[in-house]
Amino acid sequence: MTAALSYEAVLADRDAIMRASVGIDYQQYVTGVLAFDYERLLADTGYDIQRTQDVQSRTGVGNTPLIELHHITSLVRFLAAPGKGARIFVKDEAANPSGSFKDRRASLSVYEAKRRGYEGVVAATSGNYGAAVASQAAKAGMRCIVVQEAFDSQGIAQAEIAEKTRACEAYGAEVIRLSVGPELFYVFLCVLKETGYFNASLYTPYSIVGIETLGYELAGQVQEQTGRFPDLVIATHAGGGNVTGTARGLRKAGAVDTKVVAASVDLTGLHMASDRDFNRKSFTTGHTGFSMPFTTWPDRADVPRNAARPLRYIDRFVTVTQGEVFYMTQVLAELEGLERGPAGNTSLAAAFSMAQELDADQIVVIQETEYTGAGKHPLAQLNLAKQMGVEVRRGDPRDNKPGQRIVIPEHPSQIAVVDVDLEHVRRSYVRHALEAVHGEQPMSEIDLDFLAAETRSSRAYVKEAVNEWHRTT
């Protein structure tokens, strides 16, 4: 019986449950107080690009089209200075079997679970990933359970998550719907313990390696269509897997000079564990409520070591407002004939702004779309927002205030990314890292090098940041 065991007892048993359900002994990768061998953790999956593509192609995952957005590029050039306005392309990941790039993440996990003899898979997710795992499990003949945070204390379901419930159930999964709160993790652990199923976490090495084919494919497609690698690839950023896997795939394709941009919807001021805020966010992922905590400390995930480590790969981190994303979703439909989203449209809004800074012969790629439909659509979200008392109006997107006011731009010239200060993010990462080992033995040179790699900085930078932390605590 799910959640028949006490909260304390289950959390105390957490490490053993994780070990049994992921099948990875994370301890063997530990090299310091903080440090672990990240590359070996990924390499030990045994999957290179070719082998990943082989597994993914069995279920029709990947090889999605790359589409040039000619009309949106024209609009960019109308607004940009003469000679500016990069060509914008989008990778139509909605063409994957369950309608999003999450099929790439689910494919290796389910394949591995099957190969190792697990009877079923469990995923804690309220988003597309649940449908992806359920779809892959259906194809593999495995059982699937999805644990969702789905409704508030008034019983009002978030519209997009309601659609995910339906999709998962359509694929034959058992869906456990919960009200708001991080204790979802407790229910998730109970289910793993009771069933002995595989933990198809978003953050295992399999989930990240599965995304590498996305970056790899798009680099090749851009080169084939334009004769060069992209200048900018923009990924909608939440837990960090999308950025991490895409960037790694780009590098493996040889696109080492391509800049990787992480884009999130700004949800500043809303609390992720708040029952009240739950249905006032209008976005269920791709927002700062996930991307900030996961970028500044990835190891808050449902596995001991997160294989998504975005700060290692991000060249620029930007935010856009809710209203800007809804505006661009409508523009994508009406100018390009693509009704997609919501997730990739966060990157689209960022691309629309950033392409104006680049030269006209440069190339920007939005690396995903997702299927749209009832619930996961601007109409559904804006109607829910209005129902929850959030004001919706046209105006200056700078007046957008998450949870209170969604401002749809009046003119495309108002769409502008806001840069997140990566220096601040790096300091925050180091602070979280130090807090995580507080009271333990001092850090070695290996740990300093690890932190330097994690923050894309230097040993000298890390030493200085560590000293600063000691001075201020």
């Binding site: 799910t2 309601a162 991080p182």
Partner: protein, 104 residues
């Protein structure tokens, strides 16, 4: 008199996982004041009535217990009404592009 729901009917059960006041320490005050609730669908194991404590068999074959709250639960999420704030966007951007193309 309560109406019976036949064994094997597709239903939803509800259960309190953590009561109000017994939530994790890190959750905000207003979330502390409400319970952590769970809803799951499955096939009813025995003939019962709404509000009964029942057992279901889920789509993966697990047996779960909870209060019977819904029969053949509907998917009610939708698009809703057209949103006036979005209706003019397409026209506006086409006008801008039309202008750059010299009309059309």
């Amino acid at each position: 008199m309560a109406e019976y729901i036949e064994k094997g009917t597709w239903v939803e059960i509800h259960r309190i996982v953590l009561p109000a006041g017994q939530r994790a320490s890190q959750v905000p005050g207003e979330t502390q004041q409400v319970p952590l609730e769970m809803r799951v669908k499955g096939f009813l194991a025995e003939r019962s009535s709404l509000g009964d404590e029942v057992e279901i068999v889920t789509s993966v074959g697990r047996r779960l217990r909870g209060m019977l709250t819904d029969v053949n639960p509907a998917y009610t999420h939708s698009f809703g009404s057209p949103v006036p704030e979005l209706l003019m966007i397409g026209r506006e951007v086409r006008t801008i592009l039309g202008g750059t193309r010299g009309g059309g």
